[in-house]
């Protein structure tokens, strides 16, 4: 029996390819932050990089989703996200309103289009 069939192999994958591969960045972040001051120019730059990265993740989750969301047409996903964000603004930045409107548009559009 090869290692890949053993019950513990997925856990090795999770610890090495999951835990180490993610926490290494967090630990590097701790070491790299060193004596940086939170109001320094370097910090503004670092925060810009972090924010752009998270925004990239968001766009990918909408345009190239995993799982059941793939069944919704890409235009519906974009419109739902845009409506949610617009509602977030219109409600003076209430996250829960933005999320609720995004969901209503997605579900409404899904039913209107008669998807599975």
């Amino acid at each position: 029996m090869s290692a890949a069939d053993a019950w513990w192999w997925p856990y090795v994958m999770i610890v090495v390819a999951g835990w180490l591969a993610t926490d290494i960045w967090r630990w590097l972040g701790v070491f790299a932050s060193g004596k940086l001051r939170e109001d320094s120019e370097v910090m503004i730059f670092v925060r810009s990089i972090a924010t752009a990265l998270v925004a990239g993740v968001i766009a990918k989750l909408i345009l190239f989703p995993a799982g059941a969301l793939q069944s919704a047409p890409v235009m519906l996903r974009i419109v739902a996200a845009a409506c949610g964000f617009a509602a977030f603004f219109a409600s003076r930045q209430k996250v829960v309103i933005g999320v609720a409107v995004g969901e209503v548009v997605l579900i409404g559009g899904w039913l209107l289009l008669g998807l599975g």
Partner: protein, 258 residues
């Protein structure tokens, strides 16, 4: 954002002019726990309920699913790991894929640590332990609210928030895995839509200056472009190029070409 932890009506009497605090750390841990009882926690838990369905469909056991949630914690990275294992990738390629999808955690942690740290007092191992809770929800909350509190309170406050959020989501994921046999397509899709819309709103909410907002707008555009034209390293490039453009552009707007 509802019930911000700072919304206590009475002024904070423990906030001394020198930034020290008279309250013991455990009080701030408990306040962090209380702050975690929040709409963002519910949204995140619901998103993980959707993930539990994906993990179950993909053939992961309950133990494996919970191990991924506990060890990795950042939801987008958890999804990448799930996909990598499902696709039968080897250990090293899977680790590279997950690592590339998780690069964002480093600048996020770098930005957070100076807020948490008390110069000359906070030990590095404490920051290393706290860093495991760095993921979008806790990070956005911390960047938005921690600075209102005395410096010595921030680390215990963040630990209380991060730990209780993780435990709550962990339990909800396990419960969803056990209780929901076969999730229909529509609810499942709706749960997967929660994460991006929630991240979109809360990331904007955490943006403090024009550089943050510019970085967000540029990242939204560059992310998919780099995904199509430079798959694999796309997020890394999105961060470096988008972050640099946003920083340089807004710096010129702020200070001119100096």
């Amino acid at each position: 954002m509802p019930t911000p932890p700072s919304a206590s009506p009475e002024p904070l009497p423990e906030h001394q002019p020198d930034g020290s605090t008279q309250l013991p750390s455990r009080v701030w841990v408990l306040r962090g726990v209380r702050a975690a009882v929040s709409i963002p926690a519910l949204i995140l838990a619901a998103a993980f309920v959707g993930y539990a369905g994906l993990a179950r469909e993909s053939g992961f056991t309950l133990g494996e699913t919970l191990a991924m949630v506990g060890f990795v914690w950042a939801l987008p990275s958890v999804v990448v790991l799930t996909g990598a294992i499902t696709a039968g990738m080897g250990l090293v390629p899977a680790a590279i894929a997950v690592a590339l999808a998780s690069v964002r955690l480093m600048p996020m942690t770098m930005a957070l640590m100076p807020v948490l740290r008390v110069e000359g007092k906070t030990r590095r191992w404490q920051l290393l332990a706290a860093s495991h809770f760095v993921a979008v929800t806790a990070w956005v909350w911390a960047m938005r609210y921690l600075e209102e509190h005395p410096r010595e309170a921030r680390l215990p406050f963040f630990l209380g928030f991060g730990a209780s959020l993780t435990i709550f989501v962990f339990c909800m994921t396990g419960a969803a895995y056990v209780l929901i046999d076969d999730m229909p397509l529509l609810p499942s899709a709706a749960l997967f839509m929660l994460t991006p819309v929630y991240f979109l709103c809360s990331l904007w909410g955490a943006a403090r200056i024009s550089a943050d907002k510019a970085a967000m707008a540029i990242g939204l555009v560059l992310g998919p472009l780099f995904h199509l034209y430079m798959p694999g390293l796309d997020l890394l490039w999105t961060g470096l190029v988008g972050g640099t453009l946003a920083y340089v552009g807004t710096r010129i707007a702020r200070r001119g070409l100096r």
